[in-house]
């Protein structure tokens, strides 16, 4: 039965793409549920009560909430926490009392034909007032509004669970008893705090436990995802057991454990967790909506026109007034104010869903109003999901609400986010104002100093956030590199020909005029810098070497004489030649022209691509130049070409005066086998030393 339903829904949904643009998935699923329920009713007399509250609250709801909590974007959530809490707590209370109170007033009118007491009305109000996270998720996921609105509505739907739980239990108890005293009201308020804070506390405890456990799982990587799921579910069950807010426990657990668990677990486990959560929450969502449809057909409701229409209208009105009033107050405290457009979307996004239905279903069967309530609840759910769900997308377009920015998190933004955090904290300290940033900074430092050491295994506990972010980026790029075949041009987000070479500080000495013989001196610090830059710049170095030949880098700042320089070079070339005779072949990776992503990827690999100088290998201490021609086998993947030492591109060919001029030409070509352009001929009169193991060493005559 269930399989059939699922299959049908997916087939139908995906085979009719146009339909999916107009109608959100949740609506279609409900329709499918209706059909299935109708079929069952035709086939048999009794429709099995599929949307059993037990099943719903214990099996169907937790995966969705865990998925939401684990991947909750913490930063925007915390930044807007005040606003979210206002909407969740005060907004829901307002909704509940407004709807309940006015319905009671309605019932007083004898023409209505209804006779419902105040407390049952308030109970109904509390059931119907809560914005439902499942419905919000389902609808908002498809409309891609900007992050702020999304987190406001979504956060509200998550946090109002505490209010709903308290009000529901309170009014249910009071309905049985029949009367309320002030003391009861006061106790109700206290119980709200206990439920909310208790739920968060339980969740946080389990979250820390999970993080602590994950510290030791380095030998059993396979069961790492299991810990995440088990601890979260236990948090939920524990909270529900004590009548605390299970949803808040689950959110707290997921949000608390995530940074530490992610630092500890393997990459594969992380992928597993992500996809399992998405899968489970998808399945749950689908089932919930289908069962909602089935349950509608099932019966057990009594239709009362006045009650139902009044409910629908009152819900809408209450929501609009509530959001408007609260925003007026909230805007006084916000830096980024909420505009009217924002308010409209927030109000319009107040969807009710299956939680309301299940709570109604949970009501005692002997409760006489139950069936009227159920009918009204279902109507409101249908109205919000169908009407509001379908029209919100065109409305968003119409009102030109800001959409989600698909911008990739760039390293510059990360650097500046951190920079700004520290800057603002500093300014607050200077002002003497213990504000937002001050406490956030204190919490971060506490986290870094104690908590991380305790919960994260090994070296990663000390890793600052910027480096972690950078490593993540590197990983992504490395994976991309491998996936794209390793050699071809990556479809990078920044198609440009800018490469590392372009940004390195230029240390090129001024191109010497032909008559000039003096090689410009490089100050020591620049020299050091050049060395470091070149060391990290594998590819371009080969070409650069012709301009920054290692011999030029060996410039001893003390030496001023050009001749001494030449002598030194000669000596080194002799040594080199001897070494070269032993290593006849150079393995040089073929340069990939114009692929900035390649060099960026190489750079991003973070490895120290150090040259091991041939001379140093042989224990030659004469040469202090770390630059040499043996490249690490890290470049194994690259095609290997052999460079004939006789070619002028040979590193041994030194043309002191020509090198600058050649640099431009050679950098275009890279290292290729080419007939030496005028090996013996050179326009410049000058020292041109060519080393060729096959020929005699031609030493210029001075």
């Amino acid at each position: 039965m269930k399989h059939l339903a699922l299959l049908k829904s997916y087939l139908g949904f995906h085979l009719i793409p146009r339909l999916s643009n107009i109608v959100p998935e949740s609506c279609l699923l409900i329709v499918v549920g209706l059909l299935v329920g109708g079929l069952i009713k035709l086939a048999r007399e009794n429709v099995p009560p599929v949307l059993d509250s037990q099943l719903f609250f214990l099996c169907l709801l937790p995966p969705i909430i865990l998925d939401a909590g684990y991947f909750l974007p913490i930063r925007p959530f915390m930044e807007n926490l005040g606003t979210i809490l206002m909407f969740a707590v005060v907004g829901t209370l307002w909704n509940a009392f407004f709807v309940g109170g006015l319905l009671f007033a309605l019932c007083q009118i004898p023409q209505a034909g209804l006779d419902i007491g105040l407390l049952p009305c308030l109970l109904f109000g509390s059931i119907i007032s809560a914005v439902d996270p499942v419905a919000v998720l389902a609808v908002f996921e498809e409309i891609h509004i900007n992050e702020l609105l999304h987190i406001l509505v979504f956060g509200e739907s998550l946090l109002n669970d505490a209010v709903t739980v308290v009000l529901y239990h309170l009014f249910e108890e009071f309905s049985e008893v029949g009367s309320v005293t002030v003391l009861d009201g006061f106790l109700g308020v206290i119980s709200f705090f206990i439920v909310a804070l208790g739920g968060v506390l339980v969740g946080a405890i389990y979250g820390f436990l999970a993080a602590f456990t994950s510290r030791f799982t380095s030998h059993t990587r396979v069961i790492e995802p299991l810990f995440v799921f088990v601890y979260s579910y236990m948090a939920y069950l524990s909270a529900e057991m004590f009548h605390l807010s299970g949803i808040m426990a689950l959110i707290a657990c997921g949000a608390v454990m995530r940074p530490y668990v992610e630092a500890n677990i393997s990459h594969k486990s992380h992928t597993t967790i992500k996809y399992f959560l998405k899968m489970w929450s998808s399945v749950s969502e689908t089932l919930i909506f289908i069962f909602l449809g089935v349950a509608t057909v099932e019966g057990h409701h009594r239709w009362n026109w006045i009650f139902v229409t009044a409910t629908v209208i009152l819900c809408l009105v209450a929501r609009v007034i509530g959001v408007g009033g609260l925003t007026y107050v909230i805007n006084k405290f916000r830096i980024v104010k909420l505009t009217t457009k924002d308010q409209f979307i927030i109000a319009y996004g107040g969807l009710r869903g299956a939680i309301a239905f299940s709570l109604g279903f949970l009501l005692n069967k002997s409760f006489e109003m139950r069936e009227i309530f159920l009918a009204a609840i279902i109507t409101v759910i249908f109205f919000t999901v169908f009407v509001q769900g379908m029209t919100i997308k065109p409305l968003v377009e119409l009102l030109a609400v800001k959409k989600k920015q698909e911008a990739k998190r760039s390293i510059n933004e990360e650097i500046h986010t951190q920079f700004l955090d520290h800057l603002l904290t500093g300014i607050e300290d200077i002002c003497g104002h213990y504000g937002h940033h001050h406490w956030k900074d204190k919490l971060n430092r506490f986290n870094k100093k104690y908590v991380k050491k305790f919960l994260i295994a090994g070296e990663r506990s000390k890793e600052p956030q910027l480096i972690a972010f950078y490593h993540k980026m590197e990983m992504k790029q490395a994976i991309q590199l491998v996936e794209s075949g390793g050699g071809s041009k990556l479809p990078s987000a920044m198609p440009s020909t800018v490469s590392m070479q372009n940004i390195q500080p230029k240390h090129q000495p001024a191109p010497p005029k032909p008559t000039e013989r003096v090689l410009p001196q490089l100050p020591k610090s620049r020299e050091e810098e050049i060395r470091k830059i070149l060391r990290t710049n594998l590819q371009r170095t080969r070409q650069r070497l012709h301009s920054y030949n290692r011999h030029t880098l060996v410039v001893d700042p003390d030496e001023n004489a050009f001749k001494d320089l030449i002598l030194k070079k000669q000596k080194m070339i002799e040594l080199d030649r001897k070494i070269k005779e032993m290593t006849m072949y150079l393995t040089v990776p073929a340069p990939h022209q114009g692929s900035p992503t390649m060099s960026r990827a190489r750079l991003a690999s973070g490895r120290n691509t150090d040259f091991i100088p041939a001379q140093q290998q042989k224990g030659n201490t004469k040469s202090s130049d770390p630059q040499a021609y043996n490249i690490k086998p890290a470049s194994d993947a690259m095609p290997v070409i052999q460079v004939d030492l006789a070619s002028p591109q040979s590193p041994d060919s030194v043309n002191l005066l020509d090198e600058i001029g050649k640099a431009d030409q050679e950098e275009e070509q890279g290292l290729m086998m080419k007939p030496p352009p005028g090996l013996s001929g050179s326009d410049k009169h000058g020292e041109r030393i060519v080393v060729n193991p096959t020929d005699n060493v031609s030493v210029p005559s001075e």
Binding site: S410, C431, Y434, N502
Partner: protein, 216 residues
């Protein structure tokens, strides 16, 4: 409105208020803080800032303090650094962190954005030459990582290099292999942080500052 100690007459506050956009209450409160920091003198010096205990653990403390003494932040054409500042300069620097008011035209909003980004730019560009070179950017990254305890110079350099590459790619797009990207100019900086929403991120609530008396 609290009681004002021996302080400039309200007419001076008028000028300051117009210049910086703070309200009278805010100016009064900031003035109290100024006096507290400077030990009742008329000018602030660098060592006064070093006395703030909370600031000691801030990784970019040096840059922040320097920003207060940087003449480029006082007026559009200022250059160079000063050794001591008066209350007006203090206020001008603080005004860079005012939250944007709700009723502003788009042009005003743009100006506010530019000012804040200019402030950030000046903080990075320590040698006043109008560009952020690779070396300066590296310095920024190193400072940010300096408090982590695990100062890996190589990684810091790679991060800065990658960031610089990103800037160059965004701003200039296509460069020949032997062209050289001098450094981030102010225009490139603007382009880089275009989507950053700096006007809301770089603000401090100057609303309730009576907590001043609590801390040193």
């Amino acid at each position: 409105m609290g009681t004002l100690q021996s302080s400039p007459a309200p007419t001076e506050y008028c000028d300051l208020s117009e210049k910086t956009g703070f309200s009278f209450e805010q100016i009064a409160v900031l003035h109290k803080r100024f006096k507290q920091l400077s030990h009742d003198e008329d000018v602030l010096r660098r060592d006064h800032f070093s006395e703030i205990p909370d600031l000691a653990s801030n990784p970019i403390r040096a840059e922040i303090i320097e920003a207060f003494f940087d003449q480029r932040n006082f007026s559009k054409n200022g250059k160079g650094k000063v050794e001591e500042i008066g209350f007006e300069e203090f206020l001008v620097v603080m005004s860079h962190f005012r939250p944007p008011s709700q009723h502003m035209t788009n042009e005003q909003r743009e100006n506010v954005r530019k000012e804040k980004l200019r402030f950030l730019f000046n903080m990075h560009d320590t040698d006043n030459d109008g560009t952020i070179t690779l070396e300066e950017y590296r310095h920024v990254v190193e400072e940010l990582l300096s408090r982590s305890g695990a100062l890996e110079k190589e990684t810091a350099k790679s991060i800065a290099d990658a960031a610089m590459l990103e800037v160059a790619s965004i701003s200039v797009g296509h460069m020949e292999p032997n062209e050289f990207y001098e450094g981030i100019t102010f225009d490139h900086f603007l382009k880089l942080l275009a989507g950053f929403e700096i006007d809301s991120k770089m603000s401090i609530r100057f609303l309730n500052m009576d907590t001043i008396t609590l801390c040193k």
